[in-house]
């Protein structure tokens, strides 16, 4: 395979919708067996990028190779080897849970007999075996998402594209999905996912890029990004009423101060050292010292928090 063994190779990859540039000349490579994440706020261009990789949206400009092939000429061949979990579910409500898997698998030219066996395995994998013969319509959002994930695995894909796999799920359902994705990764499936959740990115991704306004703002492993772009600790201050002026209070003692509508964040390598000063000068309602996370990196790069 060319491109140094990259499963996905993008250079100057661009997507325009009329005058709007949704993806603006981005470069990245995804290697075999890794879990690669796109992190970014709404409208950053994550889905547009995923849809180009999934060969359902034509590239406007730049180079894109998926599994060593060109989506423009080999779209169906590439899609035959991909698993796709789109941002919006495309399950068929007229069919049962199991039929959704079997019929979708038929699109890949697999035999019905093979698919019936595989459907049982996949439903067990996502813990939906008890709902196998139920219609899809009344399933909960989390169950539908799990079914979509099962469906994406029906052709035993080498590369799995997951566009916000856990958005809208409750914490327990998210953990089930994370666990399943982790197991797939252990089996050697290459994962590419987008997410708004920092913990998801930290848990699942070996490497990620932070996208903002169609561009890649940063790239690295979660730990690397935190180390490079944030401090070791963060002190969060919350106030009962309006936030008092923070300007100058911590000069020379913090790397950075971030004022958010509901709280103030102090970036420092020693959080505990700031607590007495904060109490004395600002009288906050609550003070929390915590480890720095990707969320902080994200805030620094995009000036936005990523809470749904």
């Amino acid at each position: 395979m060319p491109d140094g063994g990259a499963l996905i190779h993008a250079r100057g990859l661009t997507k325009r919708f009329g005058p709007l540039c949704a993806v603006d000349a981005i470069d990245f490579d995804v290697r075999k067996g890794e879990a690669f994440g796109f992190l970014g706020p709404n409208g950053a261009g994550k889905s547009s990028t995923m849809r180009m990789i999934g060969c359902v949206s034509p590239v406007t400009d730049g180079t894109l190779r998926v599994l060593g092939l060109d989506p423009l000429t080999d779209g169906p061949a590439i899609r035959g080897r991909l698993g796709v979990v789109p941002q919006m579910d495309t399950l068929d409500n007229e069919l049962t849970v199991r039929e959704n898997l079997v019929i979708y698998g038929r699109y890949f030219g697999l035999s019905r007999r093979e698919l019936r066996a595989r459907a049982d395995d996949l439903l067990e994998f996502v813990q939906l075996e008890e709902r196998a013969n139920d219609p899809v319509e009344p399933l909960s959002g989390g169950m539908k998402r799990r079914l979509t994930i099962a469906r994406s695995l029906v052709n035993d894909p080498e590369l799995l594209l997951l566009d916000e796999p856990t958005t809208g799920l409750d914490p327990q359902a998210r953990h089930v999905v994370w666990d399943r994705l982790f197991r797939l990764k252990q089996r050697g499936v290459t994962l590419v996912l987008t997410t708004h959740y920092m913990d998801e990115a930290e848990q699942l991704c070996d490497r990620l890029v932070i996208m903002h306004q169609g561009r890649i703002a940063e790239e690295g492993s979660p730990a690397e990004l935190i180390q490079r772009l944030s401090t070791r600790e963060v002190v969060e201050l919350r106030f009962a009423g309006d936030t008092p002026p923070v300007e100058g209070v911590f000069d020379g003692r913090v790397a950075r101060v971030e004022e958010l509508p509901d709280r103030v964040l102090l970036y420092t390598d020693d959080g505990d050292a700031l607590v007495p000063l904060a109490h004395e000068r600002l009288g906050p309602q609550s003070v929390l010292v915590r480890r720095s996370t990707l969320e902080d990196v994200f805030l620094r790069l995009t000036g936005r928090t990523l809470v749904d």
Binding site: F17, G54, V56, S57, P58, G75, P76, A77, R79, G80, V84, P86, M88, D89, T90, L91, D92, N93, E94, L95, E99, I103, Y104, R106, Y107, F108, G109, N155
Partner: protein, 254 residues
């Protein structure tokens, strides 16, 4: 073509959940219509001489056959097509798999044609039971009804894929499908229509289907006439398929 067959399979699978309801109406509709028009209305129309040359039920039966096919084709190729693009997003699921836009479009058309074939097949049996078939050629009215169905489902699928919202679909029924049903020679000869409207009726695929089906059931068909009608319907269907592929591509690939 294999891709189209796989898309077709999907529609057959989802039909399995609906077939009971639709089979009942496929059997009841022709009986009700033929009874009302033949035994009821026909009594009035046939009073005295036969102004149409044959009994009214014999006249109207092939028209009903082809019009029934048109109605099914029109219903199936409008809301379900828009739905598969916008609401259920079934087409998107197919396109994320190895199917191509053409497979998705043709697969759905195969399903429309199957639905028309099943319904008009039952209709033809009812026509025979009412004694309205006067020639062995009548059996050819069946494929003619299917072809006329595709001459509707193909351009209508193009329209539904293009249409920005679903009120456009109600409009096509109000201003095209229903008037055609009433004025394209189904219930009375188009020669009764005023100048202008008559030429318009001749340009519609329904009239070509109805006229050919009628000559087939009456046994008055000539090959030249049959060729013209079939060629017209095939051209209409082919143009519709071409437009549909373009409209699907514009909506689905971006």
């Amino acid at each position: 073509m294999t891709g189209a067959m796989l898309a077709y399979e999907h529609w057959l699978a989802s039909y399995r959940r609906l077939w009971r309801a639709s089979i009942v109406s496929s059997i009841l509709n022709p009986i009700l219509y033929l009874a009302a028009l033949g035994v009821g209305l026909g009594k009035l129309v046939n009073h005295g001489a036969h102004p149409l040359g044959v009994s009214y039920v014999t006249y109207v039966a092939p028209g009903m056959l082809v019009a029934a096919g048109m109605n099914i084709a029109a219903f199936e190729s409008t809301w379900p097509v828009m739905g598969a693009i916008k609401w259920t997003r079934v087409y998107h699921a197919m396109l994320a798999a190895p199917l191509r836009v053409r497979d998705v479009m043709i697969g759905h058309q195969l399903y429309f044609a199957s639905r028309v074939a099943a319904s008009t097949g039952l209709y033809l049996v009812a026509l025979a039971a009412f004694g309205t078939l006067h020639s062995p050629y009548a059996v050819l009215a069946w494929p003619v009804a299917v072809l006329a169905g595709v001459a509707f489902s193909a351009p209508l699928a193009a329209y539904a894929a293009w249409a920005p919202k679903d009120s456009y679909l109600a409009a096509v029924f109000r201003f095209a499908v229903v008037p055609l049903f009433l004025f394209s020679g189904t219930f009375f000869p188009v020669t009764r229509l005023p100048e202008g409207l008559r030429q318009l009726a001749y340009a519609t695929p329904l009239w070509h289907g109805v006229d050919l089906a009628r000559h087939l059931t009456l046994g008055t068909v000539t090959w030249g006439m049959a060729l013209v009608h079939v060629a017209y319907l095939v051209a209409f269907a082919a143009a519709g398929l071409w437009l549909a592929e373009r409209a699907y591509t514009r909506k689905l690939v971006r």
